[in-house]
């Protein structure tokens, strides 16, 4: 499939139409969706309508946005008016949101064509899409392996050329890890850069929406479109969307980039080799490399697996069978609540709700949740010190290439370790992105991760662009 930038140019020049591009995408989805289980709902009618609106504007001579006629896939935790939205859970089966998430209004305003809703780990809790109530998504590069998660469907949609770009959400690595496992660019923006209005909440102080793309330029285009202040999200940053595309060729000459031991230690050899080759490419492009150790990052996993479940246990209390979603009837309200939640939530969601409830409960609050919040402070301070030594940081995205189905499902802690390198940035609220660089076991892609201080997206994209060129991807 052609890039989003190329499609938008051709739609605007009249070389193709939004409807024709939408039909190409629908055909690609139809060809493989049964096998890969990427889309939970394909919005054929809505997509064709949105495409025709773009074509009508063009023929009337009206302005169209930077993504004119570009098909985009949406993770199924983003509310779209009248379109089934489940967050991968039985408890929301059949629910039709009465409003649009801000990101959906923004991609529509930019001329993009939402194609449907992609599979995900239930309520974004997982690293493989195996916790989805609707079955796992297969990795298009090797269908015996997971695509990563939780935004595995959005990653697979782009990796399989169903759409050139997609949106995911990243609470502890849920965009960057599947991007790495599917050979894509994936971005977790600065907390607050992208509105969360209409994003089904998992852990509100960590969740952030971001783009997947096959190349750095398309990811920048999509992030520019979705970012910027939104009065509907009180945690939204006040400033307008940053300029990213104009800075893609800024390079890294004169920049200091910190290679962080804790962000690759314990990874497989093929992953570590890619990280070192990426570091060499940045050095060749004029960056100075400094080796850093940030021991506080080793505490990130524990802090995250107390903070995120604590927030989730509170956020998911709303699924009580009263206002929307599933209801399992019983004689009184309390029994109805319990029967509904017991039937509607899967095992991983129950595990996290209970973990969070326990961490917040009397007698354990100080030892677990309170302590985790203090570790979060230490993490932020440690990053701040690191960014006095270096402009950006680099490490691995995930400890291994895409793994086989079932490899980690019996051991939640092993699954959680998939996110050990991505979690610290969510705790700090900083941006980070995964860029494919080289291959590992079985020719599968490896992702390297670039991290920066808050609002450093333009620098991250410029460094990612250097890696993309060095890896022969442009």
């Amino acid at each position: 499939m052609r890039s989003a930038a190329a499609i938008a140019n051709d739609v605007k020049s009249g070389a193709t139409s939004a409807e024709a591009e939408t039909r190409i995408s629908l055909e690609a989805i139809r060809a493989h969706n049964d096998k890969l289980n990427v889309f939970l709902f394909v919005d054929e009618v809505g997509a064709l309508e949105a495409a025709r609106r773009v074509d009508e504007r063009l023929s009337a001579g009206d302005a169209v946005g930077p993504l004119a006629g570009v098909p985009v896939a949406l993770k199924d935790n983003m509310c779209q008016r009248g379109v089934p939205t489940t967050a991968g859970s039985r408890i929301l089966e059949g629910w039709l949101p009465p409003y649009n998430a801000t990101v959906i209004d923004r991609v529509l305003a930019a001329g993009a064509v939402p194609m449907g809703k992609t599979n995900m780990d239930e309520f974004a809790m997982g690293s493989s899409t195996e916790t989805s109530a609707y079955g796992p998504t297969r990795n298009p590069l090797d269908p015996s392996r997971v695509p990563g998660g939780s935004s595995g469907g959005s990653a697979a949609a782009v990796a399989d050329d169903m759409t050139p770009i997609s949106l995911g959400s990243d609470t502890g690595g849920s965009i960057r890890q599947p991007a790495a496992l599917c050979g894509l660019v994936g971005v977790k923006p600065t907390y607050g850069l992208v509105s969360r209005y209409g994003l089904i909440a998992f852990a509100s102080s960590l969740d952030q929406i971001g783009p997947f793309a096959k190349n750095v330029t398309d990811a920048a285009l999509l992030l520019e479109v979705i970012s910027g202040h939104d009065p509907m999200d009180s945690t939204s940053l006040p400033e307008p969307s940053p300029s990213l595309v104009d800075h893609l060729d800024d390079g890294v000459a004169g920049k200091k980039i910190g290679l962080v031991r804790e962000l690759y230690e314990g990874a497989d050899d093929d992953v570590i080799a890619s990280v070192h080759r990426a570091v060499e490419a940045l050095r060749d492009a004029g960056a100075t490399i400094v080796e850093l150790s940030i021991p506080e990052l080793r505490l990130g996993l524990s802090a995250y697996y107390l903070i995120a479940p604590a927030e989730a246990s509170s956020n998911l209390a709303r699924y009580d069978g009263v206002r929307y979603g599933l209801r399992v009837n019983a004689d009184d309200v309390a029994a109805m609540n319990e029967a509904t939640r017991t039937a509607g939530f899967g095992a991983e969601v129950k595990r996290r709700i209970m973990l969070g409830t326990y961490a917040l409960s009397a007698g354990y609050y100080d030892a677990y949740y309170g302590q985790a919040l203090k570790v979060r402070t230490q993490m932020i301070d440690a990053f701040r010190r690191a960014y006095q030594e270096a402009d950006l940081l680099i490490g691995a995205t995930a400890p291994s290439v895409a793994f086989k189905f079932g490899a980690k499902t019996d051991n939640p802690l092993a699954m959680y370790l998939s996110d050990v390198y991505t979690i610290p940035t969510n705790l700090a609220g900083d941006p980070a992105m995964s860029v494919p660089f080289g291959t590992g076991e079985g020719g599968l892609p490896v992702g390297v991760q670039l991290l920066g201080p808050g609002r450093s997206e333009a620098q991250l994209f410029a460094a990612s662009r250097v890696l993309e060129v060095a890896d022969g991807r442009s």
Binding site: Y305, V322, T357
Partner: protein, 100 residues
């Protein structure tokens, strides 16, 4: 350092979270949650007495909007998605027992 997680702790938490577990789920969750909490003991054991907790990455400050009327979702659009509604309201099963 907190004591190991017991089966009755998990049963209590499940009740607080409005979840009912089978015996085998209770056993499995006790083991799995115990492993996760054991991993978390690395931070439970730290001395962080003078560290200020962070609940939010950039420190939330109250955000207020202009006090003006805005259109909101219609009652019909909201109730349309409810499992049960009567007379323009969400309907639920009995909340209290019979009067004595």
């Amino acid at each position: 350092m907190s004591p190991p997680l017991r089966r009755e702790d998990v049963a209590k938490v499940a009740n607080l979270a409005r979840l009912s577990l089978t015996d085998s789920e209770l056993n499995q969750f006790t083991e799995q949650l115990g492993q996760i909490l054991e991993h978390a003991n690395d931070i439970a054991a730290l001395n962080l007495e003078n560290v200020i907790p962070t609940a939010h990455p950039f420190g939330l400050i109250n955000v207020v909007r202009e006090d003006v009327l805005r259109e909101s979702l219609s009652r019909a659009a909201v109730l349309d998605m409810a499992p049960d509604a009567q007379d323009g309201r969400f309907a639920v099963p009995r909340i209290m027992g019979e009067a004595p």
